[in-house]
């Protein structure tokens, strides 16, 4: 974009953590608004939602320890699994409303390279499906922009 500064994308710590997850063999995908953003949706968020495959807890903990990301496993104080740190904008999603299992939804992802890291991104139509199913105020509020973005995305897929 004309006049803008160098894009940052993921923070250095986020990059290191995502690479560490991949080294540990932890299956994950980006979901939610950040994933929608990576498919053109004109929406904003504070966090990058990560959805992990079954049995990933140990790998997540090891990856976090390796790169110094604060990670609090779920259930210590009735808390969900939680990330922390000044340049860590990650959130662990435990389930996705209205969608199939993690393994089944892997077929509905696209790999995009962000800061040189190939990442699995849940396809926009599935994100919309999950927002419709979750049906909270914040989900309903964002649906028009997501649905419009899907129109734009499909137009580009037809005529790149």
């Amino acid at each position: 974009m004309a006049g803008s500064s160098e894009p940052v994308g993921l923070s250095p710590t986020e990059r290191a953590f995502l690479r560490a997850l991949q080294s540990q063999g932890v299956p994950f995908m980006l979901v939610g608004i950040a994933a929608a953003r990576l498919q053109g949706a004109p929406v904003v968020t504070e966090y990058i939602d990560l959805w992990f495959g079954e049995g990933s807890q140990q790998g997540i903990t090891a990856a976090a320890k390796e790169v110094g990301v604060v990670y609090i496993p779920g259930g210590i104080a009735m808390n969900p699994p939680t990330f922390g740190g000044r340049d860590v904008r990650l959130d662990q999603v435990l389930s996705m409303s209205g969608l199939a299992s993690f393994d089944e939804e892997l077929a509905n992802t696209t790999v995009r390279e962000v800061n040189g890291i190939p990442l699995r991104i849940l396809n926009l139509d599935r994100i919309i499906e999950s927002k419709r199913a979750a049906n909270r105020d914040k989900d309903r509020a964002v649906l028009p922009a997501l649905e419009a973005a899907l129109v734009a995305l499909r137009s580009r897929e037809r005529t790149p």
């Binding site: 993921l10 953003r37 990576l38 053109g40 904003v44 734009a152």
Partner: protein, 68 residues
């Protein structure tokens, strides 16, 4: 929001290449929104976003830009 979507007969000022490009995106958005419930503005901004790199897309999507 109400847009003036079809002003075809207005005199066209001299436009730069960049202006022409974004105008064509807007016209595409209007065409895509036609007969749907979608807001042309949302489609236009999505079309613009699709021209960005993934890093730029993420930067534009964070409320606390510059935090990282």
């Amino acid at each position: 929001m109400v847009y003036n979507l079809r002003v075809q007969s207005a005199p066209q000022p001299q436009l730069s290449t960049e202006q022409k490009h974004y105008l064509s995106l807007w016209q595409e958005a209007v065409r895509l929104a036609e007969g749907t419930k979608h807001d042309p503005s949302d489609i236009y901004h999505a079309l613009c976003n699709l021209e960005l790199t993934p890093e730029e897309q993420l930067d534009g999507g964070f409320i606390r830009a510059g935090r990282a």
